[in-house]
Amino acid sequence: MSEISLSDRLATARPAVLGWRRLSALQPVRVLVIGLSLAILFALIAYPLILLTGYSLVDAQGHLTFETFEKAFARRGMWQATVNSAWLVALVTTSACALGIPLAWIVARTDAPGKALVTLAAGVSFVIPTFISVISWIFLAAPNSGYLNRLATGYLGFESAPFNIMSFGGLVFIEIVGVYPLVFFAVNAALNNVDASHEQAARILGSNRLRTTLTITLPLVRPAILSAVILVMLDALSSFGAPSAIGTMANFSVITTKIYDLLKFPPQFNYAAAVAMPIMVFTAISLLIQKYAIRAENFRTLTGKATPEQILTLGRWRWVAGGFCLIVALVTAILPVGALLLLSALSSFGADIRFDNLVGKHYALIFDENFAARASILHSLLLALATATVCATLGLVLGWVVERFRFFGRELIGFLVMIAYGFPSIAYAVGVLMGYVDLFYGTLTLILIAYAGKLLPIAFVLVRNGIQQLSTDLEEAARISGAGWLRSIKDVTFPLVRGAVGIAWVLVFSLSLRELSMSAILAQSDTQVMPTVVLQFIEDGAVELAAALAVVIVVVSLAMLGLIRLFTRKKTTAVA
């Protein structure tokens, strides 16, 4: 009966309804969604970046000129800052690889003790932003007054203080500790994913372990290493927190701190834009390399965990490797975290470490309502909430549009989003400032725009991956069952990517809390956020207060990241 009814219905209604049917086949909601998401994306990312480029290339009369560059780089100290940045990138990248790759190999492929400790330590130093670890290292290694220096001169017989964190070398060290986890995690994951049979095939053919590692394993993880190297370079180049804190004290500059200086009153937008251009160009080149060189050799070797046969027994080298692991964990995580906690509770920096010198007054001051710090906590939480919500929503819509719609310009969305990802925060913030300063000067909205644009890529990639793993069949099955596409998203797609959206929300929230370089440029006196206040404390020499507020940031971030477990635990079983 019902079989016939369809044709009857369609046949009788045919002439009158045909027009409507044609219209509904166009799906106006769909067009609206694509248009709207493209518009938002353009406003958030493309518009500031176009402005930035424009300002650096066009003079006040509107003529195309390179004069701005010449003038900007002719300024005093600018060339030295550029050289400093280049050295910073080179040293940090090579050292992070030298540390991260062997460590990843030890953890993935040997029976060294302390492997779990290293993974944990890398996680911790990944979570702690460099402007916070600066505080720890001031406590530990400030010239003369640092507690490690006092230990060395007072008890170990050193004649002068061995460490000086307030130096270019100190900055390099802090940056290495901050970025090596990128290399470590990427290479470790890649090593775990190399199918054991690739290596076994080489062994069967007579290649020994070393040769197999060099000729088979390393080439297989090369794409991961290259990706990590590019990330590390971009990170070091665009880093602002530690260079700003240490540079002020040790009196040197890098490109990012120069940009910041140019935006202080009176702001010189076109010079700032011009100085940001080298970073932009470098970023664009790196992204192109990433896209073409690495994708080209991105072999599909994903299988699973390392099998027992792949684990190398180290024998007596086992303890050497274990010692290495322990030192890394100690230096990159245990010491800094301990120092931060201790400093936040110590009566004053320089006081002896005794129980009766431990006080809660710094925390009390931070939460004091007559003090600027409390407002900054509220601002940060509010911004984090808003940014996470905006990014998760946009990420879902854009990820879905890119994965499911076939239309011209689909690739453009992914491209725009990835540009924002690789883009140095400080340059992006300059663009946002130029684009929206008239509308939102001195408001949290201005900061929200910057946060959302910069962190959207993270939400986008996570949610897009989630959608990619969903077979289109699942949605098509809903369509065939009679559901329109909006309903198929509501009933099928969204419930299945809810986990990914949740994780994206939490990650963006945590990253918003610790964002410094854009906040430093965009925050005004009554829109301060936690990181800018921390930086102010450091520069004012109030390191105890800086430590206490930093502890608040770290604790809230970690608590939020703990929420991820909630999302992953309930995750629905894998979908083919």
Binding site: M1, S7, R22, A25, E476, A477, V492
Partner: protein, 384 residues
Amino acid sequence: MPTPATAVDWTAPTSAPAAEAGRTRLELRGLRKTLGDTAAVNGIDLKVASGESVVLLGPSGCGKTTTLRMVAGFIQPDGGEIHLDGVLASNASFALPPEKRHLGMVFQTYAVWPHKTVTDNVAYGLEVAGRSRAQIKAEVGAVLELVQLGGLAGRFPAELSGGQQQRVALARALATKPSLLLLDEPLSNLDATLREEMRFELRGLQKNLGITTLYVTHDQDEALVLADRIVVMNKGRIEQIGTPEEVYRTPASRFVGGFIGIANLLEGEVAAIDRVGGRVLVALDAGDRLWSRAPERWLAAATPGRRASVLLRPEDIKLERPEQPDQESGTEATFVSETFLGNHYELKLQAGGTLLRVQSRRRGTFEDGRTRLWARPGSAWVVA
């Protein structure tokens, strides 16, 4: 839409097919679709009658899945038309959205929603159609019984085996009583034993329910079991449409002969023509003369001396002389190899320059490695 009868009786054979037999459910007219720069579907004409089971069969890349997805409404054709129940559903400028086509579909990956229970999966289409809760419950229960999943209604897909998920997918597609059921290689992810079992079960269901189906597969055995008519496709075109027997015994082309079953092709020259009997006498290059049936159109154009290829299936080649052979002295062949396969022997023999595959119940006797072959009377067929 008139409300369907509330009493749900799935198991009784429906009378609907008899009442409207011959009515065209689906019609494809000159359907074309280009994907990339290849013509994935290049001019397809097909009619599927109510209650009929039509199987699209062909190698991968022949356009069968593209055709099915155009019928479903997921792909819009570049040319030609699709009519469902006599109403235009797709052409190059218009496409009725999939949800308005009232179809059922079983996907190759099953596409059972992992976040919904078996019941919720099956109930979905009925919920979208706005049926009452009581009605949904009754219909879901009935259709789950039909596919023998009654006991698993509350389970999640992750707790089911592949075969059970397959049944959920089938139940979900059947629940809305679609006017046409589409199946896209539904059995290809099952293991061999289960696949064979499900073939017969699917065919049984299809016949009992009288449901119109369009089924896509590359597996010839599946096609033979499931089809009322097989549509053999190659490179975006239809090579032949026919019943399983027609397609197997009288293939329209070399491609069809080779794709379905094993084809031994013996080359030769036409020696005599019997237009009344619909057959020709072919002087084989390998020796001997053989009476062979031939397609009508080929026969009409046949003249003595014309080259011809004679198709013989492995089971139609005999090692003993039949009582009334279609040939004179038997074709001489030399022994190459022999394999015992349980219910028969698989022989490889050389006749002239051609290697022949022969399935024989007996081992056959050879003198100096030689024997004479005979075609089972009436089995030889000239392929165009």
